[in-house]
């Protein structure tokens, strides 16, 4: 416990330096901005900024990128409540009751409770990370290649189970991602695999290109295919502070949302999106006010908004302790660490305590900034919402293109990204969820490396994965997860759940 306080003190020392405060502020503002704006999410934004972070020091870079992710959770709710469009995919469910509240002239309290719930959840999640990350990292330090391989299998299986739509397609997407990740020079033999003689490909397919093409460009194209239609409640936003009655009505929902969100964030495949859906569903089931859900119940705003912020933050736990990304945003954070020459994994905590604890402390600082800055700044965000998409998307494209070009200062990366834009568009049309692909892509080389090492150590005996207890446990969990989802009854329910969502 004492070491926790000294660690947190170290962290706050780092996070409160002028430079890091500035980058944290920049991160959360940018996060809120893209959270408010529909059509651009944290994945595209972080992908866009990755090349730029190369010029920063690692701690500032990661503090800023983390701020974008949880900042987006704050921003997303504003759009959901005022425009009935999720600014962020994780605020889809906030639209249901938030927009109804706005129509009843209660947009202010809805925005207020969303921000307050998010802040509370952010504080709790920060403490949870500080408490749970160190022991998990200790355990992870004992992991051998067999455990790592099984852990990745579990992570990927969980990601497919939680993906929308068809399970078989999701698994196929993981495999495709793993294969694409293997393109490039094989570290053991030095052979340039699947590069077709293109020298740029012998370094592997650029991660930024895949992420920005599949998520960024494909999203813009998909948005352009739909007509714009917005009705914004701007004049009625007054009196942001919820009444005492509102607090009485929603404190339990905030608590439940935070707890559920924190838990779901840690799970592989989890994160803000899953957390908000689950919290809304749970709340609708157990709240005394469930009859009012969908008609402007404040609980239906408080619970998912707390949950998505908690989930966004606790999803950093597997990243920081195991070096395993649980969702595409975390995959990008791994990319950011690698750009900086940091190998993600349990050793980060011991070798770079300033980075580790500085980042955790910055999350609390960032949340405080968000709640203090955002409530007064809400008028400005509303003005931004009035900007039509036909102005927004060329601007987004400009930043994306400059970002991609600057990776290697050649047209090749831009071309590659455009090509993945086509691929991403085809995925959307064929109803193939791209998130598992991204996870597979980042884990491909790691998985192969650990498989090779494990097999070398066991002299080619594949049973090693079942003989080591931790490895076996993880494989069993993965198997059970798959079995549960494949069970006919659950399968039907799962499909229904995603249709409803």
């Amino acid at each position: 416990m004492e070491s926790l306080f000294s660690n947190l003190a170290l962290g706050f020392g780092v996070a409160l330096s002028i430079q890091n405060l500035l980058y944290c502020l920049l991160g959360v503002l940018l996060g809120t901005l893209i959270g408010v704006l529909p059509g651009i999410g944290p994945v595209a934004t972080i992908a866009m900024l990755l090349p730029v972070t190369f010029t920063l020091n690692p701690t500032s870079a990661l503090i800023m990128l983390a701020g974008i992710y949880y900042g987006a959770q704050y921003g997303g709710s504003t759009t959901a409540i005022l425009v009935n469009i999720p600014g962020e995919s994780s605020s889809v469910v906030t639209c249901l009751d938030g927009y109804q509240m706005a129509r009843q002239g209660r947009a202010g309290p809805a925005l207020g409770i969303a921000a307050i719930g998010s802040f509370f959840a952010g504080c709790v999640a920060t403490v949870i990370i500080a408490l749970f990350a160190p022991p998990l990292a200790e355990v992870a330090l004992k992991f051998g290649p067999a455990e790592y391989f099984s852990l990745m299998v579990l992570g990927l299986v969980a990601a497919t189970v939680l993906a929308h739509g068809s399970l078989v397609k999701a698994i196929a997407m993981v495999l495709l991602g793993l294969l694409l990740g293997l393109v490039g020079t094989d570290v053991n033999s030095g052979v340039a695999r699947f590069s077709f003689g293109v020298s740029e490909l012998s370094d592997g397919i650029g991660f930024v290109s895949v992420a920005m093409g599949v998520f960024g460009f494909a999203e813009i194209i998909a948005n352009l295919e739909q007509k714009e239609k917005r009705e914004i409640f701007t004049k009625k936003v007054s009196n942001l502070l919820p009444s005492l009655q509102d607090f009485k009505d929603s404190w339990a929902s905030i608590l439940r949302g935070t707890a559920l969100g924190s838990f779901l964030g840690i799970l592989p495949g989890g994160g803000a999106l899953l957390a908000s859906f689950a919290a809304y569903t749970l709340e609708k089931k157990i709240s005394w006010n469930s009859a009012q859900f969908g008609k402007g119940a404040i609980q239906g705003v408080a619970a998912p908004e707390s949950a998505n912020n908690a989930g966004a933050q606790t999803s950093f736990i597997p990243l920081l302790t195991l070096g395993i990304p649980s969702n595409p945003v975390m995959a990008l954070m791994i990319g950011a660490m690698m750009i900086q020459g940091i190998a993600p994994g349990p050793q980060v905590m011991t070798e770079r305590p300033q980075l580790f604890w500085g980042m955790i402390a910055s999350m609390w600082v960032g949340n405080l900034m968000l709640v203090v800055l955002n409530l007064p700044m809400i008028g400005m965000w509303i003005k931004l919402l009035m900007v039509p998409y036909r102005i927004l998307y060329p601007s987004i494209l400009v930043f994306c293109c400059i970002g991609v070009y600057s990776i290697s200062n050649s047209p090749f990366d831009v071309m590659q990204t455009a090509a993945f834009g086509v691929v991403g568009y085809v995925f959307v049309k064929l109803e193939c969820e791209p998130a598992p692909l991204i996870l597979g892509f980042i884990l491909g080389p790691l998985m192969e490396e650990n498989l090779r090492r494990a097999m070398l150590l066991s002299r080619g005996d594949a049973l090693v994965f079942f003989q080591r207890p931790i490895s076996l446990t993880m494989l069993i969990i993965a198997g059970v997860l798959l079995a549960i989802v494949l069970a006919p009854a659950v399968r039907k329910k799962r499909e229904e759940a995603f249709v409803e969502a």
């Binding site: 730029v52 010029t55 068809s166 078989v168 397609k169 698994i171 196929a172 495999l175 495709l176 793993l178 294969l179 293997l182 094989d186 053991n188 033999s189 052979v191 695999r193 699947f194 460009f217 194209i221 352009l224 295919e225 007509k227 998409y389 036909r390 102005i391 998307y393 060329p394 601007s395 494209l397 400009v398 994306c400 293109c401 400059i402 991609v404 070009y405 600057s406 200062n409 047209p411 990366d413 831009v414 071309m415 990204t417 455009a418 834009g421 086509v422 568009y425 085809v426 049309k429 064929l430 109803e431 193939c432 998985m447 192969e448 498989l451 090779r452 097999m455 002299r459 080619g460 594949a462």
Partner: protein, 200 residues
């Protein structure tokens, strides 16, 4: 046999093609043994699995109750053929390092057009116009500089939307170009030409 779900059909085809493609290409490398895996081992296993799953998706396309038309997006074959032909031309006429700016720009235009045509094969105007604008940006940034590239990117991509207003797009492109130069070149110090190469 009738294809019920067109989306599954094409997705299955895609997975099978990728799976078999990776397996086939991996045979150029050493397989190794399970103790010392060669570069071909893991891709072969994964590719095989992918092909099997793809086949399962493909099979499902015939037996499922979910109905989707086979025509998922408007695919235009002649554009693909023209793009590939132009691409071949561009590939064999690459100018050397000593080539002048005119030759460079000309070649960049041909190559860009080739790629644009390939994208256009997948139909939907918004898709190919947006991606084409991105490709143009990538190609002209070096020879023409950041300002011209940004203006081009904004104009072409704006044309891919629903409405195109000359005045609005002009103002937008100029302000974005100014911002890009200030933020990325002056602020972050990215090494990029601001103006066309001949001027500097």
């Amino acid at each position: 046999m009738k294809i019920t779900n067109g989306k599954d059909f094409w997705a299955g085809m895609m997975f099978v093609a990728f799976g078999l493609g990776f397996v086939w290409k991996a045979q150029d490398y050493a397989m190794g043994t399970s103790v010392r895996m060669g570069p071909a081992y893991f891709p072969t296993v994964l590719g095989g699995l992918l092909a099997v799953l793809g086949a399962a998706v493909l099979f499902r396309a015939f037996v499922t109750k979910i109905e989707n038309p086979l025509h998922v997006f408007p695919f235009k074959i002649w554009r693909l053929v023209a793009g590939l032909a132009l691409g071949a031309v561009a590939y064999y006429t690459q100018p050397g390092n000593a080539a002048g700016i005119l030759l460079d720009t000309g070649h960049a235009l041909i190559a860009g057009l080739a790629v644009g045509l390939m994208f256009a094969a997948f139909g939907e105007r918004s898709l190919w116009v947006i991606l084409f604008s991105v490709v143009i940006f990538g190609y002209v940034l070096k020879p023409l500089g950041l300002v011209a590239a940004t203006v081009l990117l904004v104009f072409v991509s704006a044309w891919g939307g629903h409405e195109f207003k000359w005045k609005e797009v002009t103002i937008l492109s100029v302000s974005l170009a100014i911002f890009a130069v200030l933020a990325f070149v002056k602020g972050l110090g990215l090494p990029m030409n601001v103006w066309p190469g001949i001027w500097e």
